[in-house]
């Protein structure tokens, strides 16, 4: 039994085994869905969306060259055989190995995910806690109103508004993206962060409020403990557990890319790549991106489970 992990060796191995099985299932389902979806990747590769007349002879020649004329199951097994050796195939769209293209877009996505999550935490935790502590005050009403608006605003609209204000009207930040730099990061991170912060602030507020109404808080007050001690040492540790789960899911989601925001800001991340690969029916690339997103969800979920051990003493005791 390791101190850092509430899961036993057997449980940990079981979880890793589950991850492998789920990835296998996802890879098969994705492959089948992409194959079954309408459209011809070969025609799409040649003409894109240009409505250009393409000869059947040209289409068939390329189909054969790419091995897309083989039966579905052979294509899948071919892919799987290479994937277990670390070769996730070749992107028809960009003419590069899938893994290379993923690695190319990944840093931008990770940077955006981290920045927007940091922003979200910096805003939502203090605002949520203060709003709960000052329950039904003007600040609480303001936070509830703003977060209600925040969760209702679509990402792309928020992005365009921020571009209009900070880029066009105030001229503080660049409108043209296309590169990863501090100044091009601010607006997409704010766009994602604001919408997530609205959601998360409401969650923090509700959770802290619920804890503040628990008997142990009344008891602590009766024993004369200071309010700050009650908040920091008693309430927050208990409130963290559900919040960590939500944080894990949000971060996992962001690591899959935020397609709409990436397009509005020309941010060169995985979301943009995913949209392009779907438009071009780039099977191998779609497969690679879906597997990456699934893997991220499951790994982060595992980390969240492991982190419970540190956050909840009851689990540590149960483990011992």
């Amino acid at each position: 039994m390791r101190e850092w992990c509430v899961l036993s060796n057997k449980q940990l191995l079981g979880r890793i085994g589950q991850i492998v099985l789920v990835l296998l299932g996802i890879s098969f389902i994705t492959f089948a869905l992409v194959m079954l979806s309408p459209g011809d990747p070969v025609r799409q590769m040649i003409a894109g969306n240009e409505d250009i007349v393409v000869s059947q002879q040209e289409v068939e020649a390329l189909r054969h060259e790419l091995g897309l004329d083989k039966p579905f199951i052979f294509q899948y097994l071919d892919w799987l055989g290479r994937a277990v050796q670390g070769d996730f195939g070749f992107s028809y769209m960009v003419k590069k190995p899938v893994i290379e293209e993923l690695m190319h877009s990944l840093p931008a996505t990770v940077i955006l995910a981290v920045a927007s999550t940091v922003f979200m935490l910096l805003v939502s935790i203090p605002a949520g806690i203060y709003s709960a502590v000052k329950h039904n005050s003007w600040f609480d009403y303001m936070v509830r109103g703003l977060t209600f608006v925040g969760v209702s605003i679509p990402n792309f609209w928020m992005g365009l508004m921020l571009l209009w204000i900070f880029g066009l009207k105030l001229g503080l930040l660049p409108i043209v993206g296309g590169r990863v730099s501090p100044e091009t990061l601010v607006l997409p991170a704010l766009t994602l962060g604001i919408v997530m912060a609205a959601k998360y602030t409401r969650q923090v507020r509700a959770t802290v409020l619920e804890e503040l109404n628990q008997d142990y808080v009344v008891g602590a007050r009766a024993r004369g403990m200071s309010e700050s001690h009650i908040l920091w040492k008693e309430v927050l540790p208990n409130a963290m557990l559900p919040l960590i789960t939500l944080l894990g899911l949000s971060f996992g989601n962001l690591l899959g890319g935020a397609a709409v925001v990436e397009i509005v800001f020309s941010w060169p991340g995985l979301g943009y790549l995913a949209v392009q690969s779907i438009i071009y029916r780039d099977f191998q690339l779609v497969q690679g991106i879906v597997l990456w997103i699934a893997l991220m969800y499951m790994v982060i979920n595992l980390i969240v489970d492991i982190s419970y051990n540190h956050l909840d003493p009851r689990l540590r005791k149960a483990g011992k």
């Binding site: 309408p38 203090p126 043209v176």
Partner: protein
């Protein structure tokens, strides 16, 4: 607890300020107003690589001022010299001779000889399946500056085909380049400094053979979102932009600040009409009634806010193929449409609002896809107007990718798409593919021996004036037969700041950053 809460609130504020400060101040160099040796051009880009034989990536090689062809199209889509100063055809119509301009050099200083051109064209055929769909050659030879192409059959439009960006002339003697990122060695005014799908940085070609290159550097960011593109131009971060959305064009009406260059593209929005036996539109009177009842002018001027030119004929007015002299017998006339239906035996006998014959309502399946915003609009407008004369139109939204298979299966009455009519400057291919008897693409069942005879004459006619005349006659036949529903022709635009001159959009969609785009005097 109050103190703790205040601390947390203060932390939140600090976080916000720190985050905002990270980006404040921006990048002063992003504003392009001052530097006259740099031009910044906001575009949409589909190319991951600058290898010209991959997919349609050669369009980008040409759009960014890197590559040039033997010939080019002018503003009326007539052929003009480029790397070839002249060309001629032999008496047997099988041998073309192109005289390569003696002044032409590649950006590395190597001379553009006929032999270099030969190797470039041969490489294109070797690497691209698409090349063979343009024409087949017996052999290509070089004699000094003369390039001689012998074809298997007469190819009247061969010079126009060589104007397609696929046939960009590159220096094949250079083999140690990463074409994807550096692009090939070409002859255009600019060379690649950096390239990714997100942004290209081009620099002036010091050996440019056709005059002075106006800018030292051209920065070309990809801005896919049209709203963002418009804002970038408004803010001054870019000097020119391609295809500003119709709704945003009004932001650039101030002539003291911006130039708007707008024209009809080479595209036609065409609804193919299924005329096969057993289909309602097999009857010419039904077709004529359907076309006559549609108020296409209102669709284009009102619904599409004048961003499309009203449709009439197969070939758009941007090409000089007699658009104005063609007569549409099925121009908008609702009363005539009703009369035609009655003559064809369609009457509303059960008062349900739809005409019927032999107990069946007149219903048409209209296939469309949503990838282009105008298509659902045209389909809905058709449904509404057709109802006024008793035709029930059933709209069927499909994925663009299955469009071709549905077209081939014949399971439709109307099938709309936005078609590029003259990729190589000559619309003969388009006219044959969709309407010539027996062509695999002609899935509508249309057949007219008179039309086919004109098409056969066109296949061997080399005289441009006679070709034009033949295609005008062919179009008139199609209009008389109600062989297609031509909704409109999209306009395309390029908007630039007044600090630039000659940033004009051309009918051929691959002349963007040219040597003529220069600082205004």
């Amino acid at each position: 607890m109050k103190k703790a809460a205040k601390i947390t609130a203060a932390l939140a504020m600090m976080g916000l300020l720190a985050f905002a400060a990270a980006g404040c101040g921006g990048d002063d160099s992003a504003k392009s107003g001052g530097a006259k040796d740099t031009v910044k051009f906001g575009v949409t880009n589909f190319a991951d690589s600058l290898e010209p034989t991959d997919n349609f990536f050669s369009w980008v090689v040409m759009r960014y001022g890197l590559g040039e062809c033997l010939v080019k199209f002018d503003d009326k889509m007539n052929l003009t010299p480029w790397l070839a100063e002249s060309w001629s055809i032999s008496d047997d119509k099988l041998t073309w001779t192109f005289k390569i301009n003696d002044k032409a050099v590649f950006s590395n200083g190597n001379k553009v000889t006929a032999d270099a051109v030969k190797k470039s064209i041969e490489r294109t055929f070797e690497k691209s399946n698409r090349a063979g769909t343009f024409f087949q050659f017996d052999n290509i030879t070089a004699d000094g500056q003369n390039l001689i192409i012998k074809t298997q059959n007469p190819v009247p439009t061969l010079p126009g085909m060589l104007a397609d960006p696929l046939f960009i002339i590159i220096d094949t003697s250079v083999t140690d380049r990463d074409y994807a990122k550096q692009g090939p060695i070409c002859t255009g005014p600019y060379m690649v400094k950096e390239y990714s799908k997100a942004k290209a940085v081009m620099e002036a070609n010091p050996n440019y053979w056709d005059g002075k290159v106006p800018f030292k550097v051209a920065e070309i960011p990809t801005i896919d979102d049209p709203n963002t593109r418009a804002m970038a131009l408004q803010s001054g971060e870019i000097d020119m932009a391609i295809n500003i959305a119709s709704g945003d064009l009004q932001l650039f009406q101030d002539k003291a600040k911006y130039n708007i260059s707008e024209l009809a593209s080479l595209r036609t929005v065409l609804a193919q009409i299924n005329m096969n036996e057993g289909r309602p539109c097999h009857d010419p009177k039904v077709r004529a009634a359907l076309i006559s009842c549609l108020d296409r002018e209102t669709y284009n001027k009102v619904l599409l806010k004048d961003t499309f030119i009203t449709g009439k004929a197969p070939i758009p007015p941007s090409l000089d193929y007699g658009f104005d002299q063609l007569t549409d017998p099925n121009a908008y006339n609702v009363e005539r449409a009703k009369q035609l239906l009655a003559e064809a035996g369609w009457k509303d006998t059960n008062n349900d609002g739809y005409v019927d014959k032999d107990g069946k309502n007149l219903e048409l399946d209209f296939i469309y896809y949503s990838g282009r915003a105008e298509l659902p609009l045209y389909a809905e407008a058709t449904q509404s107007d057709a109802k006024k004369i008793g035709i029930k139109v059933n709209m069927k939204n499909i994925d663009y990718n299955v469009l071709d298979s549905i077209r081939q299966s014949g399971d439709f009455d109307l099938c709309i798409s936005n078609i590029l009519t003259a990729n190589s400057g000559d619309p003969a291919v388009y006219l044959n593919w969709y309407w010539k008897t027996g062509d695999p693409q002609n899935a509508t069942g249309y057949s007219n021996p008179e039309y086919d005879a004109l098409s056969d004459r066109l296949a061997v006619e080399f005289d441009p004036a006679k070709r034009r005349d033949l295609m005008i006659q062919m179009q008139q036949i199609l209009l008389n037969d109600g062989a297609g529903l031509f909704f409109g022709y999209p306009k395309t635009n390029m908007v630039s700041k007044v600090t630039l001159k000659n940033a004009d959009i051309k009918p051929a969609d691959y002349y963007w950053l040219t040597k003529d785009v220069a600082p205004a005097e």
